[in-house]
């Protein structure tokens, strides 16, 4: 049984309400933090090694320390609850079940950053969660944790929930800021960074829901204690939303010391592959990160056990590794078709491209069309190389990371499953009736021994 910091109390009956949450020790971190100097809170978060939980994994304390503090200009904290990465539903789980944890983290972070008006930007489809959050905010306000002069410290803070309206791109922080300003979600060209010029040209910090919730245990236990959990630069706990062909899909909190194999097969977590099938592949960190075949998932190319943490998941780079990403863990069993799956992801990115810059606007649609023709048995062998070339020309050449996010899944699918693509091309009729199957994707990889 690993350490649980965020979801420990998530199943206490009535924890959604203020009274139970408070009686279970809620809002202690606010009491503690509001007696500290804001700079010391930032220091504490830095010490904790807490990394952004939205996908990029940037150290949160560092991000906070970048915020500009020009005289007389208000600053804002914005909570990124625009969870839209396929495979990811951890923030939703947290907000639905234990909303006060997020509100508590937001108050501490707002105090540390000097934000008197803090916004939660939530994806529009999570309409009912808006009600849950607003109720939690009202309860917090009634109990003096929000509003004017909180705990007699002279600190004022309001939290508002802003609903999006259906756009994956608004999870990108500058697109989110544009959307919060009532505009199209077109990412901004950086610099200037939000820490200098964010919402309404004011210094802004945008953090993921889980990151802000994790601020609560960081403050409660102290940064150094928090950093002791986990391994290396992967400190603390991480929420993993597991889905796909597993027995127990759901949200799990892990302390980043367990192996991928244990995570998939132990009863505590995913409970193994559904219907007694074998695992074929897995996308360990949300649809944007590279897919791995089973044999590279459990062991790195060096033959070492792969663990569920930032470093180990990315071991081997993109050639033989993947990324922790947002923690959206998608498992594919032996009956699944990689080409079809990649096609649905390409269709997703095409649908979600904002259309502002040309490589992403044109390239995502092109990749979708080619993948569709391969999937439906109309592909040519040269299409596979063409796909590779298109993704290569999108990656790194766009305004925001959506271009990379669209390119990586296609690249990884071709890198590891090229023979499945070729099989589709060579067997245009058969591929409509059956899938390629597990093939050799779970076979042990030979690790060369050095003398």
């Amino acid at each position: 049984m690993g350490v649980k910091l965020l979801l420990e109390k998530a199943h206490v009956p009535g924890i959604r309400g203020y009274d139970v949450y408070r009686s279970e020790g809620g809002y202690r971190s606010v009491e503690k933090a509001l007696k500290m100097a804001p700079a010391d809170i930032v220091e504490e978060v830095k010490k904790s090694g807490l990394r952004g939980r939205g996908g990029a994994g940037f150290p949160a304390g560092m991000k906070w320390s970048f915020i500009a503090k020009p005289e007389g200009v208000p600053r804002h904290l914005v909570c990124n609850a625009d969870e839209s990465e396929p495979g990811t539903f951890k923030d939703r789980y947290l907000m639905e079940n234990i909303p006060h944890l997020l509100i508590e983290g937001l108050i501490v972070a707002s105090f540390a950053l000097g934000s008197n008006a803090t916004y939660i930007y939530i994806r529009g489809e999570y309409a009912w969660i808006v009600d849950i959050l607003e109720q939690a905010i009202n309860e917090a306000k009634q109990n003096g944790w929000l509003g004017k002069n909180i705990l007699d410290t002279g600190f004022d803070c309001e939290i508002y929930v802003q609903r999006g309206a259906g756009a994956y791109i608004c999870g990108e922080e500058t697109a989110l800021i544009e959307s919060l300003e009532g505009k199209r979600g077109n990412p901004r060209i950086k610099p200037p960074f939000p820490a200098v010029k964010g919402v309404w040209d004011r210094p802004t910090v945008v953090n993921n829901v889980e990151t802000l919730a994790a601020v609560v245990p960081v403050i409660n236990m102290g940064g150094e204690e928090y950093a002791k959990i986990g391994v290396g630069r992967s400190t603390g706990t991480k929420l993993i939303s597991a889905c796909g062909n597993i027995n127990k899909p759901g949200v799990y909190e892990i302390d980043m010391t367990i192996s991928v194999e244990e995570f998939i097969y132990s009863e505590e977590f995913c409970g193994g592959i559904a219907n007694g099938k074998r695992i074929k592949a897995c996308i360990p960190g949300g649809s944007s990160v590279p897919i791995l075949p089973a044999n590279l998932l459990f062991k790195t190319a060096k033959g070492e056990t792969r663990y569920m943490n930032y470093e180990s998941l990315s071991d081997g780079g993109f050639a033989t590794g993947s990324m922790m990403g947002s923690g959206g863990f998608i498992v594919l069993d032996e009956d699944q078709c990689i080409v079809k799956h990649t096609y649905t992801l390409a269709r997703f990115y095409r649908h979600e491209s904002c259309g502002q810059c040309s490589p992403c606007r044109e390239g995502t649609g092109w990749m979708e069309k080619i993948l569709k023709s391969i999937e439906t048995g109309k592909g040519k062998m040269s299409d596979i190389d063409l796909l590779w070339d298109i993704q290569r020309k999108i990656e790194g050449n766009t305004i925001c990371p959506l271009g990379d996010a669209a390119a990586w899944p296609v690249a990884a699918a071709i890198r590891h499953f090229r023979d499945e693509f070729e099989w589709h091309v060579n067997n245009p009729i058969e591929c409509l009736n059956r899938n390629f199957g597990l093939a050799h994707y779970a076979d042990e990889i030979h690790v060369p021994v050095t003398a």
């Binding site: 060209i189 259309g355 040309s358 092109w366 020309k393």
Partner: protein
């Protein structure tokens, strides 16, 4: 600030000094020639433009004197400011050349091949871009994107299929007129320039969207299908206009004024007038004044030698400085050759621009010479 510290920046091995805050693109333009990256969306006279088309991507191989680390990705030169000691690679970087060819392919992916009937042909930045930086073929085998047709009123013709979504016309309407009526609608590859409800654009300065459009998406309805630009001759002219500067360029054939546009510089942008402001012109000058006697003609416009429009020959031809040879270690440019190297017909001692009227065989007939 009388003594402003200048930044030293090296672009394709040419070092210059520029004021802090200058973008890499503007620095490269001050060197000129092929060192200047192409720009399809950036427009120096429109605030906030740039960064979108990705044609001006360059490699920053050295960040600055203080922090010499190279930048991890190619950057949009139009929106990246120079640092002291920065080293930039444009055409000397194979990475840039490759990425740019990719961007050109993306831009042309859904662009119709209707140049033969497009009014922009001959002065189209996308044609130039494709010619200079693109690959000859396309690998796209699907149907090209089409849009529902929208009518923007009596003056401006919109061909959405040709649009590359540079957003210049949106910035123009925002910054030149007091109420923008058109914008970018929808998302992703369905994005389009439109008014949503069929509405004609009739602000006094809205005609300038035609001049800023890098392609044939927005063209002048009063000139539509009337002539090819390379058959018309551009002259600088002015008139007393209560609305705008009245300094324009007329595109004439004989005495007939086919088209009126703003005057443009070598980057295709509207030139500044004497007061240092961009010389945007009003709709009346552009669309209504189509008689030669509406205008005081100053003389032929200076046209870049590279342009097909320069084929109508002029005195005062301005040759830009060739930089390719300099930066590509002696490699010759590939686009133009000296006609005399390959043809013995035309005599090198006869300057075509000096003869009256079109050249005939008589001009070259040495036996008939007096």
């Amino acid at each position: 600030m009388s003594e402003q510290q200048l930044f030293k920046v090296t672009i394709d091995n040419i070092t210059i000094e520029v004021a802090p805050g200058t973008s890499i693109l503007q620095a490269a333009r001050s060197i000129g020639g092929d060192v200047a990256p192409p720009a399809m969306c950036f427009y120096s006279k429109l605030q906030g433009s740039g960064g979108k088309c990705r044609t001006c991507l360059v490699e920053v191989s050295k960040g600055s004197e203080k922090d010499p680390r190279p930048m991890p990705k190619l950057v949009a030169s139009c929106r990246t400011t120079v640092m002291d000691g920065m080293e930039v690679k444009n055409i000397t970087s194979p990475k840039v050349v490759d990425a740019r060819a990719g961007v050109v392919e993306f831009l042309l992916l859904n662009h119709p091949l209707d140049c033969p009937i497009c009014d922009q042909a001959g002065e189209c930045h996308l044609q130039d871009l494709g010619y200079e930086h693109g690959k000859a073929g396309t690998r796209y085998e699907f149907q090209r994107r089409t849009f529902k047709k929208h009518d923007l009123g009596p003056y401006i013709q919109l061909h959405m299929t040709r649009c590359i979504l540079c957003y210049r016309c949106v910035f123009t309407a925002d910054q030149l007129t007091n109420s923008r009526e058109h914008g970018v609608l929808s998302r992703g590859d369905h994005s389009e320039i439109a008014t949503y409800i069929e509405k004609s654009l009739d602000n006094d300065f809205i005609g300038n969207v035609i001049d800023v459009c890098p392609v044939g998406a927005l063209t002048d309805k009063t000139f539509r299908f009337k002539n090819r630009v390379w058959f018309t001759k551009p002259v600088d002219a002015h008139r007393d206009c209560p609305t705008c500067s009245g300094k324009a360029q007329l595109w004439m054939r004989g005495d007939e004024v086919f088209r009126v546009t703003a005057r443009k510089d070598e980057w295709g942008e509207v030139k500044d007038t004497a007061d240092g402001k961009p010389g945007w012109i009003c709709n009346e000058c552009r669309f209504e004044k189509k008689a030669a006697n509406d205008w005081v003609i100053e003389g032929p416009s200076v046209i870049n030698r590279h342009s097909v429009i320069a084929q109508g020959h002029y005195l005062g031809l301005k040759k830009p400085e060739e930089t390719i040879v300099k930066v590509m270690s002696g490699q010759q440019p590939r686009f133009f050759m000296d006609i005399h190297d390959v043809s013995g017909v035309n005599k090198p001692n006869i300057e075509l621009s000096l003869i009256n009227g079109p050249a005939t065989s008589d001009v070259f007939n040495e036996t008939k010479k007096d």
